[in-house]
């Protein structure tokens, strides 16, 4: 009897003590015994107006959603970031089929490093910011639909763009560069090669890759939310139209915005070894095979990187990348490696951590490429020595005089 009493008093005391730091466990049981049925009857506030409320809710939500969807689909120039007009302009150039005898294919370093106007033949720069061999392959395929095919292709893809397909959703599909069939082909290839890159990227959105592709192609509003929030439509539209016009004028050359941080270290410096992803290796091989099959001369050109980055890349990585590129020159007739596989130039010619060249650096690099294409020396030593020539006087992108350094 006394034990029972003491136990119950202990429990009561503990329970009261428990409320001193947290709610008592008894609350849950009290709640459970007092659970009311459905809200409508419990609160006694259900009225016919709930139906009207829900209809109003649905009408407003549906209208806003459709308006937003129409806005994004019809006016992407007013929504998307400043990279979109660059991609868009290049797609327009491909559609117009006025490509000249040389095309430049590659990534953002090629976009910012090769000025078509400085090359000795009519050239179009079809490189894309962030472009991997996948985008480069499809750029070439789209270009080769034109009746007048180019005679030469300058292919310039950086080492780190062989490692991971990291832009297919955020750039390639968002900007409407690939069709559904092309995306499906890339996915099928990735599956066949057991390359998980696309699936992993899709999983971040919790949507299966195929469905995500369709949603991007349909310009599904949630996928464009960040652009809607970050942009002020009026200014984006104006700025993007200006960028698009500039890219069309320079035949694909464009710079990247400041900040100017020349001594930043590029991502290659972190590599412990160089191994291309199966998917990207496949697409690079397909690209070279495609160009060669059309009788196009292929010049593999590596855009320079800054000295600070170069000095941090391990010799083994440099060697592996060099071997990789040379293997294509050895395998395919009509393919040559032009200059060094990792040219190092002074830091001052670079604008940012991505190793995009400054206009001065791009002019100098394009000058070297011009000399090379004219047969005045394409070797590695010439390329590395070129910036050391000191003050270089030549034409600028518009054909006028330019003083570098």
């Amino acid at each position: 009897m006394s034990s029972s009493t003491s136990s119950s008093s202990a429990a009561a005391a503990a329970s009261s003590g428990a409320t001193a730091w947290a709610s008592s466990g008894a609350t849950a049981r009290a709640n459970s015994s007092a659970i009311a049925p459905a809200i409508s009857s419990a609160a006694g506030l259900a009225t016919p107006s709930v139906g009207r409320y829900l209809r109003c809710f649905a009408a407003v939500a549906g209208t806003i959603f459709l308006l937003l969807w129409a806005f994004i689909a019809l006016l992407p120039t007013a929504v998307l970031d400043e990279e979109y007009p660059v991609w868009s302009a290049k797609q327009d150039m491909i559609k117009a089929c006025d490509l000249g005898s040389t095309i430049v294919l590659g990534d953002s370093r090629a976009v910012a490093g090769i000025i078509p106007a400085l090359l000795p033949m009519r050239t179009t720069n079809l490189a894309f910011g962030g472009g991997t061999p996948v985008e480069t392959y499809y750029a070439a395929r789209h270009a080769l639909r034109c009746p007048d095919k180019p005679a030469r292709a300058i292919v310039s893809i950086s080492m780190f763009k062989f490692v991971e397909e990291d832009i297919i959703w955020e750039r390639t599909m968002r900007f409407g560069f690939l069709s559904a069939a092309e995306l499906h082909a890339v996915e099928a290839e990735a599956d066949a090669l057991r390359d998980p890159a696309l699936r992993l990227a899709a999983n971040l959105n919790h949507v299966p890759a195929a469905a995500l592709g369709w949603l991007y192609l349909a310009r599904f509003p949630p996928l464009y939310f960040n652009s809607l929030m970050c942009g002020c439509p009026q200014y984006r539209y104006r700025d993007n139209r200006r960028i698009e016009a500039a890219v069309l004028r320079t035949r694909g050359y464009s710079t990247f915005p400041p900040p100017i941080t020349p001594d930043r270290i590029g991502v290659e410096a972190l590599f412990e070894y160089f191994t291309p992803s199966p998917l990207l290796d496949h697409y690079f091989d397909s690209l070279i095979a495609l160009l060669v099959s059309h009788g196009i001369q292929v010049d593999l050109v590596a855009a320079p990187i800054n000295r600070s980055t170069f000095d941090r890349i391990s010799p083994a990585v440099r060697q592996q990348f060099d071997r990789y590129l040379r293997s294509f020159a050895a395998r395919y007739p009509g393919v040559r490696l032009v200059g060094a596989t990792l040219p190092r130039w002074p830091d001052r010619y670079f604008a940012d951590v991505y190793q995009h060249m400054t206009p001065a650096g791009a002019t100098l690099f394009s000058r070297w490429l011009e000399a090379c294409l004219l047969g005045e020396g394409c070797d590695e030593a010439t390329l590395d020595q070129w910036p050391a020539r000191g003050r270089v006087v030549g034409r600028n992108a518009s054909g006028g005089p330019a003083v570098l350094e």
Binding site: N31, A38, I39, A46
Partner: protein, 535 residues
């Protein structure tokens, strides 16, 4: 699957709701079967490999509950079955959640060369394990009455609580699942649930994620952060955690309501707490309730029984002695809160987090016991209490978020100026994109030329952003208060003090919520994961 993902909002949820109400026309059991099916799809979406683990856990615990029920007449055997089942559950939890850390600790001693590869933590394992442990303990005490397999499976797997809580009590949910009235569509439940879900999504996507953008960078290098940047990081995380968990809790309650079920409250403006005790009664309320019921109470009762057996008093006067206070209050608090700390994750920083809160609570408890009852505080006194409580919680949150104890200490050092005083702008870039439209407009009109004014503009945007969020935290009613007239959750809900912020199913609210829902529905495109998923 995340609540704030495209596949959930535009695919899973409409299908789950439609399937539920269609199957409910054929009876209770088809509706429950549909819910179970949908919940397994929900759970397996991220990683189907863990679906068998969930199924095995459910079947094992259900079998254990039946065995416990069948041995009611043999208490000793029943006790052993319960102990074995608890050990198996905790063993699985320890293996998935703490094994790598524990083996790493052993390895660090240098005595044994032991290493373990990373183990992927099954989604929500802490939540479904604790839910089921509670059920087993209640079976043992004769509290759990409903022993139907389907009711049990749907109670454990019902997707709105499966992977991040609230931690449900069988006594509050299983009667609802057993009630045929639950399966009739209620327009009011649906409207209230939808409204709460929209509020939750807005909190998550528009408040928590943007303010959290700078947090990883700050906590990655706390030793480099000067005073302002350290404060900026810590306050940002505090707000991110608040809106993330608040948003998640709103969404979970709202989803349950859409299925005509009511969840318990889980989050009740914890930063308005006037003491740490009050804080724990408002923050992750179902976890607090769980630990109180299954850890604190048994410990406190055991301590009192020991004293009673030794003919020592257990009344309030006895608690005012050092020994009485230590055994009956401090020890149960420390054990409970340390366990609550490491429940959140492996690592010494979670132990320190628990230790700090245990100290706060013990001091708080001591004040209540040893001090005479203070008069009702003035408005200024209340503000002081809220500020002191928040500051205490803020310091503990540094350990909660930091990757290690050393990093947390470095962050606290930064907060008191040990790494210099300036440099807030170093993290300003984090929020700049979210204010992009405004900044772009100002720049385009040359009101804000880039360059000299940019860091000031970024810092001003940050201060305004953080300040605005604190206004929401401290001056606005919470979601359940807004919907209080329609009893959105189990438990006491007070009404919004602002009459214009009391939800009503009228045209004005229909238009406002329609706009808000679209903002939320498209905002899911650029969001991260819920913080509480990692626990």
């Amino acid at each position: 699957m995340l609540f704030n993902s495209i596949v959930f909002v535009y695919g899973f949820l409409p299908l789950a709701l439609a399937g539920y109400y269609i199957s409910a026309r054929f009876g209770r059991r088809p509706a429950i079967l549909w819910l179970i099916f949908a919940s397994f799809i929900f759970y397996g979406w991220w990683n189907p490999a863990f679906v068998p683990l969930l199924a095995i856990s459910i079947l094992f615990n259900y079998a254990a509950s039946r065995a416990i029920g069948a041995t009611a007449e043999r208490p000793a055997l029943q006790g052993w079955i319960l102990k074995a089942a608890v050990a198996a559950n905790l063993g699985a939890l320890v293996y998935y959640k703490y094994a790598v850390w524990l083996v790493g600790l052993v390895d660090a001693t240098g005595l044994i060369d032991a290493r373990l590869h990373d183990i992927v933590l099954p989604l929500g394992i802490s939540f479904f394990t604790f839910t089921q442990l509670g059920y087993l303990l209640d079976c043992r005490h004769g509290i759990a009455k409903d022993r139907d397999l389907l009711d049990y499976v749907v109670f454990v797997t019902f997707f709105p609580h499966l992977i991040a809580g609230p931690i449900l009590h069988n006594g509050e949910m299983m009667p609802q699942f057993a009630d045929p009235a639950t399966y009739r569509f209620s327009a009011t439940s649906f409207a209230v649930g939808l409204g709460m879900f929209v509020f939750g999504m807005l909190k998550k996507c528009l408040l928590a994620d943007p303010i959290g953008a700078i947090v990883p960078a700050g906590y990655a290098h706390p030793e480099a952060l000067p005073l302002l940047a350290a404060w900026q990081t810590v306050l940002s995380y505090s707000l991110q955690l608040y809106f993330d968990f608040s948003g998640y809790s709103d969404m979970a309650i709202g989803l349950a309501l859409m299925f005509n079920l009511r969840f318990p409250l889980n989050f009740n403006s914890p930063y308005k707490a006037q003491s740490v005790v009050d804080y724990w009664q408002r923050w992750h309320m179902t976890l607090t309730r769980y630990f109180t019921q299954y850890v604190y109470n048994p410990l406190a009762i055991a301590a009192m029984r020991r004293r009673t057996a030794r003919r020592l008093p257990i009344n309030r006067k006895a608690q005012m002695t050092l020994r009485g206070f230590t055994t009956m209050a401090a020890v149960p608090i420390f054990v409970t809160i340390l366990l609550a700390g490491i429940w959140h994750g492996s690592g010494a920083q979670f132990l320190v987090f628990g230790l700090l809160h245990a100290c706060y609570l013990t001091v708080n408890r001591a004040c209540r016991i040893f001090r005479p009852t203070p008069p009702a505080p003035t408005r200024l006194g209340m503000l002081w209490r809220i500020a002191l409580t928040y500051l205490s919680v803020l310091v503990a949150s540094v350990f909660f978020r930091a990757p290690s104890v050393a990093a947390a200490v470095a962050m606290l050092g930064g907060m008191i100026g040990l790494h210099g005083l300036t440099g807030a702008a170093t993290l300003a870039a984090g929020l700049a994109p979210h204010a992009g439209g405004v900044v772009a407009a100002l720049q385009a009109n040359l009101l804000l030329p880039p360059g000299a004014w940019q860091p000031i503009a970024d810092a001003a945007v940050q201060v305004l952003w953080i300040g605005g969020l604190y206004v929401i935290v401290w001056a606005m009613p919470n979601t359940q208060q807004i919907f209080a007239d329609y009893a959105p959750a189990l438990g006491e809900v007070t009404r919004s003090p602002l009459a214009w912020l009391r939800w009503q199913p009228d045209r004005r609210w229909g238009i406002a919520m329609g706009c808000a829902s679209m903002l939320a529905a498209i905002a899911i495109g650029g969001t991260g994961e819920f913080l509480y998923f990692q626990f």
